[in-house]
């Protein structure tokens, strides 16, 4: 009887481990995660295969020429694009703090409270300064006057506007200057205690001093909020942001720390855009 030696069953070769690219910076916690997102307005596609991670408690700037999709992506984060007929994400997902914001059981109203927005053209409501800031609170159901007073003061202080308006809380918001109105809109967004603040070209309509005040405000807010700002002004992106994402024709071309993008970008298109060689 031949004793058959047990054949050594060869183990299958270990799966090739995915090579991890060397991480240049320590990993930041991620607030918003965009995965393989395509976006279309009816039949017209505007975002192609966007992959992006917005780090939390930092300022990320979206730059790119007009029509490149940066504002569209911004408005996806708080689902404001839902207001437009036919606008939808055709593939991919966007996650806020790990939760898919387009899932059917998501409360859009709550999402919009958590992700606040400041618009390009400041839109204070035709009410008093106090009522503007209190609006979000009242909508949430707050009724106690003392609580509202406290929250209004806290938001106005956080927006660096308290000293300028504390004596005229009941005057119309339209009596404020352009820069003050924009800071009022920021205070209004802060009042509902969001986690993320989206800003769509917040300084484009402001004079340099007002712009500087808003930029200083953004700098101070970064400690407590995740901020995403769309801007046409590259110097502003350079001054304000920690990270920059460059978009072109609906695609994300490059994403990295602002100092890297502005001193030595990896992509030719990025370099051409920021040095003004486009077109």
């Amino acid at each position: 009887m031949v004793v058959m030696e047990k054949e050594e069953i060869p183990h299958p070769a270990p799966l090739l481990e995915l090579q991890k690219p060397p991480e240049p910076e320590p990993r930041q916690p991620v607030m918003i995660s965009v995965e393989d997102v395509d976006f279309s307005y009816s039949a017209h596609q505007v975002l192609y295969d966007v992959n992006l991670e917005i780090p939390s408690r930092a300022v990320t700037a979206f730059i790119g020429p007009s029509g490149c999709g940066k504002t569209t992506l911004l408005r996806c984060f708080n689902r404001m694009n839902d207001l437009i007929d036919g606008a939808r994400i055709t593939s991919g997902s966007i996650e806020l703090d790990g939760y898919n914001i387009n899932a059917p059981d998501v409360d859009v109203v709550d999402l919009r409270r958590r992700v606040g927005m400041v618009f390009q053209k400041s839109n204070p409501f035709p009410k008093s300064v106090y009522e503007n800031v209190a609006y979000g609170l009242r909508v949430l159901g707050a009724t106690k006057k003392s609580a509202i007073n406290e929250a209004v003061e806290k938001s106005l202080r956080a927006a660096a506007l308290w000293d300028e308006v504390k004596d005229r809380l009941d005057s119309s918001a339209y009596g404020l200057s352009g820069g003050q109105q924009q800071r009022l809109c920021i205070a209004r967004a802060l009042a509902v205690e969001p986690e993320v603040i989206l800003m769509d070209e917040p300084c484009s309509a402001l004079d340099p001093i007002a712009t500087a005040k808003v930029e200083e405000l953004i700098y101070q807010l970064r400690e407590n909020f995740t901020i995403v700002i769309v801007t046409h002004n590259m110097q502003q992106a350079g001054r304000c942001s920690n990270y920059t994402a460059f978009f072109y024709l609906g695609r994300l071309i490059e994403f990295g720390s602002t100092s890297k993008i502005f001193s030595n970008p990896s992509e030719r298109k990025t370099e051409d855009y920021i040095t003004g060689r486009f077109g």
Binding site: M80, D85, K121, N123, F125, Y135, R138, V139, Y174, C185
Partner: protein
């Protein structure tokens, strides 16, 4: 540019200017003529030369028959009640010509018109504003919505007599409401509904979209946004469109002819057996009264006085309501302007 062309340009410019000016002043002249005509003739009825300077019986009594006769060389024009009182005092046979509707006043008509205006405006504003909110804020631009808008526009062009017939057929006959305030309210309300809807939609559209977006971005629901941030600012515009509606509702005769108006009614609207009967009663109305006095009876100087008096009151009533509306609009506009 050549000299002749410059001259031609100047002529064209001057002609255009004077044409537009003429048209404007022609309208002004026509309106002035109408108001003066009614005003002057009407004030002969409404105002007196002595005493409280207002013809109080005209405002406080119902229409009565006028008796004209001569007695001992004097010409008497007495209303029915006065005539009977006089006859009680002077038991003689006199030949009196009677003129219907030419004595007394139009108090029940004023009340009736007022009730019709209030009721129909409430109905039209309620339904109209709700429709406008739905059409402007909630609906998508689908084919069926476009059809609805076309239907509303067409409704605006329907002649008022057709509304009257419709109201008669549906409310009076089919619903068994008979000639009643209720039927009048719905008929008149439907008549001005297109204007209210269009006007309200325009006002809602005029509210900048930034207010809606800003509110939604803060975490408000759609209804909260409309209630707190859109509707209050559309109110002045809605009130403006309602002013025109009030004028029409007060003055239209055809819709109320078969549905709400009586030529003569002895009881006042609040003299009902049961409070539910209040809406099921017909009323007298100023425009219908003018129609009755003008066409149903032979014309003479006495009837003319009544016509113009009633017309003047109608005008004054419309002016008063319009003024109230304007004042209200100005005050809300100041509070809520942007």
């Amino acid at each position: 540019m050549s000299k002749s062309r410059r001259a031609r340009n100047r002529i064209a410019q001057t002609t255009a200017f004077w044409l537009f000016r003429f048209a404007t002043y022609a309208i002004l002249a026509a309106a002035t003529y109408i108001f003066l005509d009614i005003g002057i003739k009407g004030s002969r009825t409404l105002f007196t030369t002595q005493g409280p300077f207002i013809n109080v019986p005209f405002f406080t009594q119902g229409p009565q028959t006028l008796f004209v006769f001569e007695y001992e060389g004097k010409k008497y024009t007495l209303s029915d009640r006065e005539f009977r009182a006089w006859k009680a005092q002077h038991p003689v046979e006199v030949e009196a010509t009677s003129v219907a509707y030419s004595a007394g006043g139009v108090w029940p008509c004023i009340v009736g018109t007022g009730l019709l205006v209030v009721g129909s405006m409430i109905f039209a504003l309620a339904v109209g504003i709700c429709s406008a909110i739905y059409l402007n804020e909630y609906s998508q631009n689908t084919r069926s919505i476009r059809l609805i808008r076309i239907a509303i526009l067409n409704l605006a062009g329907v002649p008022s007599i057709v509304f009257g017939l419709f109201g008669f057929g549906l409310f009076v006959i089919f619903f068994h409401w008979n000639v009643s305030l209720l039927a009048g309210w719905f008929t008149l309300g439907l008549m001005i509904l297109p204007a209210i809807i269009t006007g309200s939609e325009e006002s809602l559209r005029a509210v900048p979209n930034g207010l809606r977006e800003g509110s939604l971005a803060l975490g408000a629901t759609k209804w909260q946004t409309i209630r707190k941030n859109v509707l209050p600012y559309a109110i002045p515009g809605i009130l403006t469109s309602s002013i025109l509606g009030i004028g029409r509702v007060a003055g239209e005769t055809a819709p109320i002819m078969f549905t709400a108006a009586y030529a003569l009614r002895d009881e006042m609207p609040w003299q009902v057996q049961h409070w539910t009967d209040f809406v099921f009663q017909g009323v007298m109305a100023l425009p219908y009264h003018i129609y009755v006095v003008s066409s149903k009876i032979p014309q003479n100087e006495y009837t003319e006085r009544m016509q113009y008096g009633a017309a003047c009151i109608l005008l004054l009533l419309v002016f008063a309501i319009a003024l109230a509306s304007i004042v209200l609009r100005e005050r809300t506009r100041r509070r809520l302007s942007w």
